[in-house]
């Protein structure tokens, strides 16, 4: 029954279109999400007490048609199990904190109401996405999330760059969505249903064609690479930082990008049936986490560092998914939501205090001016680097151990994960020291603390969660089935735990050396070309620009006047020209008429003679 109230509530954000006063907007905007969070908590408690595993709430028939052979039926219905519940808690819980923070962050913006309307619509879509009991409804939420992300990235619409970033995000993710849509069509063709439970039962049955399953899984994976910013569709996320910082925290760290992880976890039966798809997932994850990690090391914009680190952490989740460690992936999703939201929100305070300065080279020494933020940020960085006893440590540990187990000992995926952990340690340390320690940069001299109580509270809560979140039990076994608790050699565990610490130490060493050798700038620790390359996200943007966007644009603009139209126009103009020539003959001059007649007669006679000559 809490579900019913929950549904009505998740719809209320949609009504938030016409409220004038800022205070009222705040109450309604933040309150709706807060209520949703409370209801989720009640729902979770209900789960605990009633020992239920699944709640189904069918709402209404969306589409029901039949083509004579197979009926197609899509319903609006919600489906809640342990996985949904985890996602719900993250979305509403972290979402609520970010809403509270936003209320302070966006104060005085002239589009305050629009902001909260979009934000609530976003939460609504995200809830639909995770609650959906069939893939079509999930797709509805999926696209809705994409729309809100578009609107929020381009929220400050006066700057054309933001608009460009927003469009890029929408279109790049849409490429993935299209793959997903084809995947849905394929599943529908094979199994005649998109409802999750019957579909997964059908997938599990041994009769299913393995090739189709592989193809479908790969197509869905294509969709998730778009939304979760994995290789090769990761390029939109760093640019998406154009939106307001709480948006980055909510959408591009805590919730939206995790949709892909959720989808794979939701369809894990499908993926488990296909070796290739699992391998592809793990490969994509590993490559992404490495490339994005190294890119993060080379960034100079505070938010872009965080963006790349998000991509990298999502890579970890995909690695876990590919290794079959679904609950580890979801666990990392949760802890990542905590510490990444924390990092972004602290970064938001820093950016606001520095009057929208985002270049970390001009920061430094902010520790004294923003003590609380500094602590929060340090906790976030520690969790990000997975230092022992922070939340990130537990989840990442699980992922690496499972990778070790699944792929049988020492393997490229595990090595990739360890190197990634090393790199994560390095960039976390770099970020923290650049912003809060060391000499004061040019921007930090003008720092005026913009911290407000409405900001400190979410920061504190999130910091606690980032520290202690690793202790939260998730009870996901009911969804994924319990995976036997294989123990990994303790050496492996030690290596995994030591990697980030080594990373931090390496960074400190580099920094120390750089301090010694003042001639070089601090961050020139590897070749400038490589560094530039990494900073530009490995040139993916330029590649796509050259290979896809530019030709497409060229073809489109070459055909602006519609070549087909020109064909018809040429028919018209030929007629006109003929008409012109023929009308010239009607000159009214007797002389030319006579000439024509005489010439005609001579011509006919000549022809006549010619024919008779040939006959003879």
């Amino acid at each position: 029954m809490p579900l019913l109230g929950f549904i009505t509530l998740s719809c209320t954000p949609l009504w938030l279109q016409r409220e004038p006063s800022e205070k009222f907007t705040t109450v309604l905007g933040v309150g709706s999400v807060g209520l949703a969070a409370l209801l989720t908590a009640a729902l979770g408690a209900g789960f605990q007490t009633h020992d239920a595993t699944i709640i189904q709430t069918p709402l209404w028939q969306w589409v029901q048609v039949s083509d004579g052979k197979f009926p197609l039926q899509l319903n609006f219905g919600f489906h809640v199990d342990a996985l949904t519940l985890v996602m719900l808690s993250v979305i509403t819980g972290v979402g609520f904190l970010i809403h509270v923070y936003s209320a302070a962050y966006m104060r005085g913006d002239d589009s305050y109401r629009r902001y909260f309307a979009y934000l609530n619509l976003f939460v609504f879509s995200m809830l639909v996405l995770v609650l959906a009991d069939n893939l079509a409804l999930l797709y509805l939420g999926w696209e809705g999330v994409g729309l809100c992300s578009y609107l929020l990235i381009g929220f400050w619409y006066r700057n054309p760059d933001n608009g460009r970033a927003a469009r890029k995000a929408f279109i790049v993710t849409r490429v993935g969505d299209t793959a997903m849509l084809i995947g849905l069509l394929l599943l529908l063709k094979e199994f005649h249903t998109l409802s999750l439970q019957p579909l997964m039962n059908a997938v599990r049955s041994p009769g299913a064609d393995p090739e189709v399953l592989t193809l479908a899984a790969l197509l869905l994976l294509g969709g998730t690479t778009g939304k979760s910013a994995q290789l090769p569709l990761q390029t939109w996320l760093p640019d998406a930082m154009a939106g307001p910082t709480p948006v980055s925290a909510l959408i591009h760290a805590a919730t939206m990008v995790t949709a892909g992880v959720y989808l794979v976890a939701r369809c894990h039966d499908l993926f488990l049936r296909s070796e290739i798809a699992m391998l592809a997932t793990a490969t994509i994850g590993t490559l992404t986490l490495l490339l994005a990690g190294i890119s993060a090391l080379a960034q100079t914009d505070l938010k872009r560092v965080l963006a790349y680190s998000t991509i990298s952490q999502l890579g970890y989740m995909f690695l876990a998914l590919g290794a079959g460690a679904f609950s580890a992936a979801v666990f990392h999703l949760v802890t990542h939501a905590f510490f990444k939201a924390l990092l972004f929100l602290s970064a938001g305070v820093v950016i606001l205090s520095l009057h929208h300065e985002q270049d970390i080279r001009s920061m430094g020494g902010l520790r004294k001016k923003l003590p609380l933020v500094c602590t929060a940020f340090a906790i976030g960085c520690a969790a990000l680097a997975a230092l022992p006893l922070t939340s990130g440590f537990f989840s990442k540990e699980q992922i690496l151990a499972q990778t070790w187990n699944t792929f049988g000992g020492l393997n490229p995926f595990w090595i990739g994960g360890i190197v990634g952990a090393l790199v994560t340690g390095m960039y976390s340390a770099r970020l923290l020291t650049q912003v809060f320690f060391g000499r004061e940069g040019s921007a930090s001299q003008h720092c005026r603390s913009a911290q407000m109580p409405a900001m400190s509270v979410p920061l504190t809560v999130l910091a606690l969660l980032a520290l202690l979140g690793g202790a939260i039990p998730l009870h996901l076994d009911s969804v994924f089935g319990s995976i036997g608790n294989h123990h990994v050699p303790s050496l492996v565990q030690w290596i995994a735990a030591a990697a980030p610490i080594c990373g931090i130490l390496i960074w400190l060493l580099i920094r120390y050396l750089a301090e010694q050798n003042r001639a070089k700038t601090q961050s020139h620790f590897f070749f400038p070309i490589l560094q530039n390359w990494a900073r530009n996200g490995w040139g993916f943007d330029r590649l796509y620009q050259a290979l896809l966007t530019a030709p497409l644009r060229w073809v489109a603009s070459a055909n602006r006047d519609d070549i087909v139209d020109k064909c018809y126009a040429s028919v018209g103009s030929t007629c006109l020209r003929l008409h012109f020539w023929l009308s010239r003959t009607q000159s009214g001059l007797l002389r030319s008429y006579l000439t024509a007649i005489v010439a005609g007669v001579i011509g006919v006679l000549f022809l006549f003679l010619l024919i008779t000559a040939v006959r003879l």
Binding site: S66, D67, L185
Partner: protein, 519 residues
Amino acid sequence: MTLLLILLLLLAAAVLCCPLEKVHPGSSRALAIFSLLMTTVLLFGYLWAPRVFTVPATLADLWWDQLNWAWIPRFGIRFHLGIDGLGFLMLALTLGMGLFGLWITPGQIRQRVGLFHCCYLLTIAGVVGVFTALDLFLFFFFWEVMLIPMFLLIAIWGYEDRTRAAIKFFIFTQASSLLMLAAIVALAYLSYLQNGEITFSLQHLAQARLPLHTQYWLMFGFFIAFAVKLPAVPLHPWLPDAHTQAPTAASILLAAVLLKTGAYGLLRFTLPLFPEACSAFAPLALMIGVASIVYGAMAAYAQQDIKRLVAYSSVSHMGFVLIGVFSGNSTATLGAITLMIAHGLSSAALFGMVGKLQQRFHSRNIAEMSGLWATLPRLSAVALVFVMAAIGLPGLGNFVAEFLVLVGSFPSYPWLTTAAVSGVILAAMYGLRLLQRVFFGLPHSNQVTPDMQDLSRRELAVFSCAGLLLLWIGLYPQPLLSQAKEWVEVIHNRTIENPANYTPRRDGDSRLKGSEAGY
């Protein structure tokens, strides 16, 4: 009888418009709106008739209402009108969008106001006839009737380049309908040779068993006429010009209603008359559909004129309709019908939006506008909603429709369907380009003039009606689908590709028998 009443009411109002305007300036608009409202009420009266929701046992029961008078008995031509679920949907769209077009454009017509409304109502009357005629000759008659006032609407009240656009429109439609006339006459003649009785009635002609070869040629005559109206690449060039040059109300009528007559013709006539030829032609038709989707979207992406952009996007959407009609699957066909309605709503609203822009800026050039969100937030929000509908955002009508089309056609034509899905990406490209250039970005300083007013409350209400309808179709399309279902089953029981594989559904038994008996 109600059908005749609807037609007569529209005609009478059309005739009265001119003299009334002379007596009372401004009254013709009121009269037009009044007559449209009245006809809409009459039309919706059908929903209260008990037969609407019963399952028809025979084809004759399929029609909610019929009117069958002899017209030219010598040639077996009858004045035969009929309405069924599909016809009802189309009529509702016609009258509703006719109303929308007038309502949204007050004061845009300054000269010959009476004649304008006369032509407007005549066009609608023609369309109503097209959507109800069950006699091929009568159908052709109405087909021409709707053309001429539309030509006048473009030629007299259009924008800069109106004459050329109107002539182009006329030549394309006229040339292609000549082919259809030839095909109609040939079909009637062939069936006369078979049965010894001359008739133009759809039901009787559908019984003629023609060799595939003949069917093919006749079908071609029909197909080209309908494909021009639809329009399908490469028969589309009249559309961007006609849309761009027509006054807003006429653009709305063109996009929302006239394009649908093409798809309707395919559904009502081409498929039942030439089932074998259609299924043989299907792969080619699907290819044309995919070409339309991609070509239209690419062309839309390149346009500088907002109206042209929307016009090309129509070409793209109608490609989906073509795919749905020809893929030989009732899910896809239902999708096509839903898309006809949804596209009618979304494109009409988009043209209305462009009309509002034109009214304020006297320009339709994308380059001359920027950052309108700051000055015109309501209009911008309207544009946002309908652009999102047009690019197929789930939850709005167009998505459901396109989804059904894709679901239906995917099993038989996976590759062509995949190609069609790519149109979704291209749609996002042109849609977002429009939003970005016009509504986002930095406002031009010269745009902010004191007379720049946002949408009034009333205009907003009209737009929201269209938006809510789209939302309704997007979330609960079932009532709409069930109206259209009967006719779709009639079509597909005849054109089902391999009858040997076909087993009728349990509850469909009686219906199947009925429709076969009907033919």
